[in-house]
Symmetry: C2
Subunit: 434 residues, 2 copies
């Protein structure tokens, strides 16, 4: 049972109070004066209600859109209203005034308002459904992510974001004065989640990670929210890919069930059928790109253009615009990546989703000796990684995992052109407020 | 249905495979050689199983505790076994060796192992139930926290941890080189969660916050996990307190349902009945402390000793060792705190729980004018807070909320003497690794 503070009733519950007197609280969402009658559309976190009063009385209050008010009124059934009822105003009390002359209103057609203005007026923008719904869907996505993994015996972990050194050797790190030392903000919980596999076997974490990216494109953030998964006793990267297929299928089904109207408002096509998402070898992808798009310029990695092209091919061939690419060249992947074959391919994959990479994952090396060789092979000194390598002495299963960027996934699900539209308070090279 | 990678079966599901052949994967938890028969207690994320084989065959593998193995065997019913069955070993395959001479084992009596050693061998320690269960309970607590608030229409938000200035004026902040500027790690999502109330009405966040605490006591961390709640349209702090009572009652009930044996192993008494937790005025608390403990030294705040004394009084008077203290002196609380009366009391409360403060909360000022006056009254310049104050122009309801320190709450629930025992990777004045 949803509880409101004091005697206030949520708009969602109005239908249960027909012929009764109620107290509502919320924002003036719209205001329409039609001669002697004034219609106040009141909005709270549970919905919108039409409240009707005498224009003379309401005029004296100088009500305007965005004001925060309390309405005492009697509820009557009204088939024309969305909620099935309407409220006859007995009394309006202003709880707090909004400023006059705001650059837009919560009920505005917000498409024409720039991202900068929306960010500078975040609370107001969030009351607009086109903006607010993005974060409702994001919250639901997070909930479904955790729900599925918990059902599969994964333990949620929380690992430190202040670290003594970088995971992959130290580029793009934010440095921090930590008392009399220098520390860094974590680029990824990679090492910690691997360690925890040796403890709990199956773990996930949802949390911020940091990259001091010197560019500020529509796909880069300096602080993003990473959905991290890692688990042990796998046979190979195919187990990891299959888990991600099932996880995303569960999430999309859940979103489709509860947020279909929002998805429809943002997307032209249904969400991809993830259980059908193909897995293509990297070499095969290079061939396909050559054959279909005359791309002869790619050798050891994909570029954003190639990611779009492969998603298009996947859609043409399988109906799903999501494709796993497996077997990237080992040299282009971090030192802890397990090899796929003797010819330099890695057990590492990306998930390309509607034109962009949203996941990197794979199988990791699980033997200390192999990690030491891999480090030396890249000219890195194992002694510098001793605090990490020691954990592989404590009973480390074969393991793998992946990470999904929450903002990128949200942006793709809702077809938002800029990843910043999927962050409440984005951070990039130039943005540090609000 | 719980899915394992490949054909591997989880130990939890063994009973469904009686008279069949299965493949298990896990850690050697205990090893007992009784003449010609060897018992291998195998542990995976789902449970423990007794596997029985011929000593001669197993000896050749040089198995030892903590090794990571795969067991192929046939399942037979055995009433004496915890899981109701036992596995006759057909084949053992070593997937990865643990090092010899570890300082303790997962199955060790771990009470005598120091915290330092446990932290330096985190993965191994996590396989010990006394340590691992702490984080299972913590994960469940988080899940129940989010679950309850979602059921009450709260929206999960994610706010930036890199900020341009501190929430309360700038002590104990970690400074960060942010490209060519200085930024800070957020001490609290206080401002952001208030802003989001003007967007979504009811919000919560679970995430890290940072305090450059120069001391390293058993109750302080430089990085901790804050469970933040904020909501609008309240009548006063009593609404906030009541929500926290109901939230904690829900969490404790959920823990009691799923983790009773773990709670019993750690606690001498049942968890407090939160719905009965009293709310005492600050002035009344000073009187009680004077009367019962001859404390005449307290004036504008409580100290750790007083927190313990009040919890004891609450227990004596109500049976519950949790008490809300409401009406702290306004001067000792942040500038955004709403006043309680004209005599300098604030609508601000602490929740004292089994001897320690685990929550600070209250009603906040919601009018821009009041905030500006409060700032000036404390000698602070409103212009420096303009990016925050501007949000109060956009339709800000009366609101309040609270924050719970996850580690402190976990430590109290499981009666752990040091808060570090409730953090996977603690950070303090001196600790930056692992």
């Amino acid at each position: 049972m949803l509880r409101a503070a004091s005697q206030r009733v949520f708009i969602q519950s109005l239908a249960a109070f027909v012929h009764q007197e109620v107290t509502l609280r919320g924002w003036v969402y719209r205001l329409r004066v039609l001669g002697k009658t004034t219609f106040v559309i009141l909005k709270d976190c549970s919905g919108e209600a039409q409240c009707v009063g005498a224009s003379g009385v309401i005029r004296e209050l100088h009500l305007k859109a965005e004001d925060v008010i309390e309405v005492r009124g009697s509820v009557r059934a009204d088939q024309r209203a969305k909620s099935g009822c309407e409220v006859s105003i007995l009394e309006v009390r202003v709880l707090n005034r909004a400023a006059a002359n705001l650059p837009f209103n919560a009920a505005s057609d917000i498409e024409s308002v720039g991202l900068e203005t929306l960010l500078e007026h975040r609370p107001l923008a969030l009351r607009n459904p086109l903006v607010g719904d993005v974060f409702q869907v994001q919250a639901a996505l997070l909930k479904l992510f955790r729900e599925y993994l918990s059902s599969q015996r994964f333990t949620e972990i929380i690992t430190s974001k202040i670290v003594a050194s970088g995971t992959e050797g130290g580029t793009n790190l934010f440095a921090l004065k930590y008392f009399d030392r220098i520390a860094y903000l974590a680029q990824s919980p990679q090492f910690y989640k691997e360690h925890c596999v040796a403890g709990f076997e199956r773990v996930f974490e949802t949390g911020h990670v940091y990259r001091a990216e010197p560019h500020a494109t529509s796909r880069h953030l300096t602080e993003y929210y990473s959905l991290d998964v890692e688990f042990g006793f796998i046979d190979g990267p195919e187990d990891v890919i299959q888990l991600e297929r099932e996880l995303l299928a569960y999430i999309f089904e859940g979103l489709q069930k509860s947020y279909a109207p929002i998805l429809d408002a943002h997307r032209k096509t249904p969400l991809p059928q993830m259980l059908n998402a193909p897995c293509w070898e990297f070499e095969e992808c290079l061939e396909l790109l050559k054959e279909h798009f005359h791309r002869a310029d790619l050798t050891d990695d994909l570029d954003p253009e190639a990611e779009r092209q492969l998603c298009q091919l996947a859609k043409d061939k399988t109906g799903s615009s999501a494709v796993f690419v497996l077997g990237f060249p080992l040299g282009a992947r971090p030192f802890y990546t397990a090899p796929r074959d003797a010819h330099g391919a890695a057990n590492s994959f990306d998930l390309l989703f509607e034109g962009i990479e949203i996941t990197t994952g794979g199988q990791r090396l699980h033997r200390r000796d192999d990690l030491e060789s891999a480090l030396r092979g890249r000219g890195m000194e194992p002694a510098n990684f001793e605090s990490h390598l020691r954990m592989f002495d404590l009973g480390m299963p074969p393991h793998g995992g992946f990470a999904i960027g929450l903002e990128r996934l949200t942006a793709r699900i809702l077809d938002l052109p800029n990843v910043r539209q999927a962050v409440l308070y984005p951070r990039d090279r130039y943005r540090l407020t609000p």
